[in-house]
Amino acid sequence: MVKFITAKEATHFFKNGQTVMIGGFLNCGNPQDVITEILKTNLKDFTLIANDTATPEDSRGKLVVAHKIKKAIVSHIGTNQETVRQYNAKEIEVDLQPQGTLAERIRAAGAGLGGILTPVGLNTLVAENKQIITVDNKQYLLETPLKADVAIIYATYADKFGNLAFHGSTKNFNVLMPMAADVVIVEAENISEQPLSPDNIVVPGIFVDYMIKKENNGTD
């Protein structure tokens, strides 16, 4: 059952070298408060799984600037010039993934699948060192599951049972990651005592371990 904690308390659930998923897409639907607290600690050497590394001033982007990310498994780094700089200087390892493949790999982990077959990336650098499997005379890449030790998730609405719902384009990876991480920490803008409508819940509370009332009510 979900426990309500502070962002500072959330830092206790991280260890150096862990794999951390962080929801959000560029400047939208980003958790911020736990990251702010992590920046005050000596935690480091994380492998980040996220859509992108945002900007140097925003969310997971700040973890890159603070050299807390050893490796980034993301679809895009172009919006964060510090990630690009560290990548060119070989200070960070970057494993670029097609965005849809990244989403499917996270889902596969959460759904207990051994992988999925996708046509995306065939005949490109993405196919290197990957198994090609033929189904019905068509070739596909075998993409394997991606899971994390901890996930930091944004939600617009939550209830005391840990159920989540979202406004606008904040669903992005926030919907997928809670099933694919051992420990799930949610920063919610609005937390209600009353249960959310069971018809409209997007992430069931059973996937959420810890809930934080988000300090800043913008998305960043």
Binding site: F25, L26, N27, C28, G29, N51, D52, V74, S75, H76, I77, G78, T79, V84, Y87, V94, L96, P98, Q99, G100, T101, A103, E104, R107, T118, P119, V120, G121, L122, N123, T124, L125, V126, T156, F166, H167, G168, S169, T170, K171, N172, F173, N174, V175, L176, V202, G218, T219, D220
Partner: protein
């Protein structure tokens, strides 16, 4: 005729706009492809999908309707049209990969006579990442590349791409300020010559063999 970058982009955007059919679900790359929306005729209603999970992208936000929770794939605040909806990234890409997008318009670093596309990586120089581009191009029913014909004078339409590919054998149409090409069965076919260009100029600035067939 020498065009400014702005003029070239407007010509391309206007030409791309004519490719949209009423009811089309379309995905547009950031920048030039997105500009085409401004020139769609009033009787054509398209549904614009954005890879970050918006179906039915509307106008950019202004002071009357700011909402930081709604952005397009470029990170800009947008509105959502009546009948639109928000989905997660998994669903957004299932739409693309699953063949539910009628038309995708993207820019390119290079495109070649076999329909190969390169637009995500210049090794050792510039690697922003493929983002959603590889997924976008695989499942779309039709793929249009909208780009300036050359980059600093150098051809971008080649016999064979030299940069890492985004996708192989998928480009259907190339629209530049000088020309419209189609690619059918690995053959590049010139379909239109822009009023601002000529066959000679196109030959000089295209580094690929092409068939001239302006009849289709």
């Amino acid at each position: 005729m020498e065009l400014t970058k702005e003029q070239a982009q407007e010509i391309i955007a206007r030409r791309v706009a004519r490719e949209f059919k009423d009811g089309d679900v379309v995905t547009l790359g950031i920048g030039l492809p997105t500009k085409a929306i401004s020139y769609v005729s009033d009787d054509v209603h398209i549904i614009v999908q954005s890879e970050n999970g918006v179906l039915g992208v509307g106008a950019y936000q202004d002071d009357s309707n700011r909402d930081p929770h709604i952005i397009n794939a470029g990170g800009f605040g947008v509105t959502i049209n009546d009948g639109g909806c928000f989905v997660d990234s998994l669903t957004a890409f299932a739409m693309m990969r699953g063949g539910h997008i009628d038309l995708t318009v993207l820019g390119a670093l290079q495109v070649d006579a076999e329909g190969n596309l390169a637009n995500w990586c210049i090794p050792g120089k510039f690697t922003p990442g493929m983002g959603g581009a590889m997924d976008l191009v695989v499942g779309t029913k039709r793929l249009i590349i909208a780009m300036e014909h050359t980059a600093k004078g150098a051809p971008k339409i080649l016999q064979k791409c030299t940069l890492p590919l985004t996708v192989a054998h998928k480009v259907n149409t190339i629209i530049t300020e000088k020309a419209v090409f189609e690619i059918i069965n690995n053959k590049l076919i010139l379909r239109e010559i822009s009023p601002y260009s000529s066959l000679d100029e196109i030959r000089q600035t295209t580094d690929a063999e092409f068939i001239v067939d302006l009849t289709a």
